[in-house]
Symmetry: C2
Subunit: 251 residues, 2 copies
């Protein structure tokens, strides 16, 4: 095996204080950093680190490029925000690896976990994911919208709390409004909803509301939306309320 | 408001390299650390830090004690392994806060997120949670077993990948076997399963198998069990295989 390696590294939600020492050590040891431009912009530039930025839609090509560099002995960090295994680059890297030359399977490939957006958002609000929950990617770029709806219905049937990633983008203006309609019908208009934008960054904004008051325009590409279970509680106080889902469920 | 505060701090899955700088800074600033003994044992002892260990079942009492100390001006770290918002102490703290004296609502209470067990386990295996997934606590200490089964069925209906926390304890020897039976029936015996024990610690052990081969004895209190969706792939290679769930789903 060459001395090269590929590490898929999670940078956390934005704040440098949420980057793990493991992730930082891999970034410090890398010769190449590969990823979506805005994530690469979070790295401190240094001599000896080549930066390879690509568009957000080119994930498989980017992964193949990173694997190819690792076979040449480079130490390659593929960066994602949050946790790389949650709607991010790790899956694309293994998909590219499976489809690529057999030699790629012998590479030193590892994943460095991170603090994913829903956990950072939940921490800021209290503990809204404090009991069973689902994480659902609302983007229908790579799956039919029917799959999104099927999963939202299943999550509502199971009375899970939910974390909704990628609720809305310019290319998909309508899906999130339909998702809110579906959830209102399945869960009732009183259900707690949290819009958490850019948590842990200077642009952070949190809104605690209900499905009845939620509107699709409250979310953008940098928002993760948390939906409570039927048991989720809002604890009012001076300032932003605390939101939590109890550890228990009644018989 | 007093100068006291309460921070619910996630220590990650075990490796010190997975403790965020934010969590470490809160631990360094605390006057008191409260939690389950084995988690407190992970802290470096130092002058000025009082350690308050309690049993794992006494979460509400522990939370109330921590809140009470914060009102007295102490800087209290309530520690959990993993992420404190995922089947850990954050929910208990807010439940105690809601039930307690009104003055507690004015306290400076914050949650420091962490790398939860399922994300550390997924990273070690590849990217098995690379698409929509559910996190389900199999313990029926605080909820009826029927709720566990309802959620497993809903997760299977939605074709989610799943992370199963607390699969098995001495007090509940049978539940996990029933869960495996239910999942075999709902998902088929070929479905990928990963038993991930004590990830990132010296006792780490990973087993990749199928529902057909999975046995309840493969899990213990330190295991998180990951179940793939219908699309989850196993990439064979010399050594442990990579497991990933694709980012896409067919129409």
């Amino acid at each position: 095996m060459s001395a090269g390696w590929l590490a898929v590294v999670g940078l956390g939600p934005g704040d440098a204080a949420l980057v793990t020492p493991q992730a930082q050590a891999l970034l410090d040891a890398a010769t190449d950093a590969v990823g979506y431009g805005p994530y690469l912009a979070r790295l401190a530039p240094r001599a000896g680190l080549a930066i390879h930025a690509s568009d957000n839609r080119e994930e498989l090509d980017r992964a193949a490029h990173a694997l190819s560099m690792a076979t040449q002995g480079r130490r390659v960090a593929v960066v994602s925000s949050g946790d790389p295994g949650v709607f991010a680059m790790a899956s694309a890297v293994f998909e590219a690896l499976e489809a690529g030359p057999p030699a790629w399977r012998g590479l030193d490939v590892r994943v460095a976990p991170g603090v994913t957006a829903m956990l950072a958002a939940a921490a800021r609000a209290g503990a809204p994911l404090g009991h069973d929950f689902c994480a659902i990617n609302l983007s229908d770029n790579l799956k039919p919208w029917e799959t999104v709806e099927r999963r939202l219905r299943a999550a509502a049937t199971g009375d899970f709390a939910m974390a909704l990633y990628n609720p809305r983008s310019l290319a998909r203006p309508d899906g999130f409004a339909r998702a809110l309609d579906l959830l209102r019908e399945a869960c009732g208009s009183g259900r707690v909803v949290i819009f958490a934008r850019a948590v842990s960054t200077p642009e952070e904004a949190l809104t605690v509301t209900t499905l009845g008051e939620a509107r699709s325009g409250m979310a953008d590409m940098r928002t993760v939306v948390l939906v409570g279970s039927s048991l989720t509680r809002v604890v009012s106080r001076a300032g932003a309320p605390f939101v939590y889902t109890p550890r228990w469920a009644p018989a």
